[in-house]
Amino acid sequence: MEMIIDLASWAFILAGVFFIFTGTLGMLRLPDFYTRLHAAGITDTLGTELLLIAMMLQAGWSIVTVKLLMISLFIFFTSPTATHALANAANAVGLRPFGVPEADLRPKTTEKA
């Protein structure tokens, strides 16, 4: 039983580390701020949650697991809020997205203020 849990933890950790790495790599490689937001999203959602699940498996049924669950829920709810706030702030000051066709940038967007 313990071996199964250990193997599962290894799998979750490797998967989590893979997604965290990929997300951060995307933050370095992608051409502009808006596209980097998507890459950061990989780290914040899948990478983080997988790693936290691995830790929960190792902690077993204890108060530690409950705390890990709180952390994972908190990150799950706040990370999209922070991402939206970032995108919204950048959009509000008129930061131009890279590679988006002009037709998509209808004036309605900028006149919102």
Binding site: F19, T22, G23, L25, G26, R29, L30, P31, D32, Y34, T35, L37, H38, A39, G41, I42, T45, L46, I63, V66, K67, M70, F76, F77, S79, P80, T81, T83, H84, A87, N88, N91, A92, P97, F98, G99, V100, P101, D104, L105, K108, T109, K112
Partner: protein, 162 residues
């Protein structure tokens, strides 16, 4: 009133979790715990009055069903974006699209916008009354979001606990 009692109970549970003390014989520590719960409750009631819209969220089967569906979507979208990032010539075609949000309440719209942002590849940028401006990393992601039934799912869930 039920809202306040529920909040108080969850705050007390949270305090017990963080302090790790459930024994009743230590009166001082227990007193501090009760005091902090009461203080937070007072602040919450005061903020409700200033904000004007207390948010009541109840765990319904529908909500959990939605979370499971959302988790699946997040997984799929993550793999898609990871493929783009890891491919040698990143094939991106960023788009800005407007998505109709048919929810009635603020909470519903916030849930929808958060769900859009949570799935990598799409980020909600701005919210008008009933439209959400979304930045998508590829054209496929943009059309995929417009064609998906995320909006209906959130609306269906919203009516449940409004």
């Amino acid at each position: 009133m039920r809202h306040i009692l529920g909040l108080g109970a969850s705050l007390a549970a949270f305090w017990m979790l963080l302090s790790g003390s459930i024994s009743l014989d230590n009166k001082l520590v227990l007193g501090f715990g009760i005091a902090s719960v009461v203080l937070t409750l007072f602040l919450a009631i005061r903020m409700d009055r200033l904000d004007g819209f207390p948010v009541h969220i109840r765990l319904s089967p529908k909500l959990i069903q939605y979370w499971i569906w959302l988790a699946k979507e997040i997984g799929k979208a993550n793999i898609d974006v990871a493929k783009i990032v890891l491919s040698p010539n990143m094939k991106i075609s960023p788009r800005m699209v407007r998505v109709k949000a048919s929810q009635q309440t603020d909470v519903g719209i916030a849930t929808f916008a958060n769900s859009i942002t949570l799935t990598p590849g799409t980020v909600s940028v701005d919210i008008d009354d009933d439209e959400i401006l979304v930045h998508a990393i590829t054209e496929d992601m943009a059309t995929g979001l417009i064609e998906s039934d995320m909006d209906e799912r959130v609306t269906a869930m919203e009516l449940k606990y409004r």
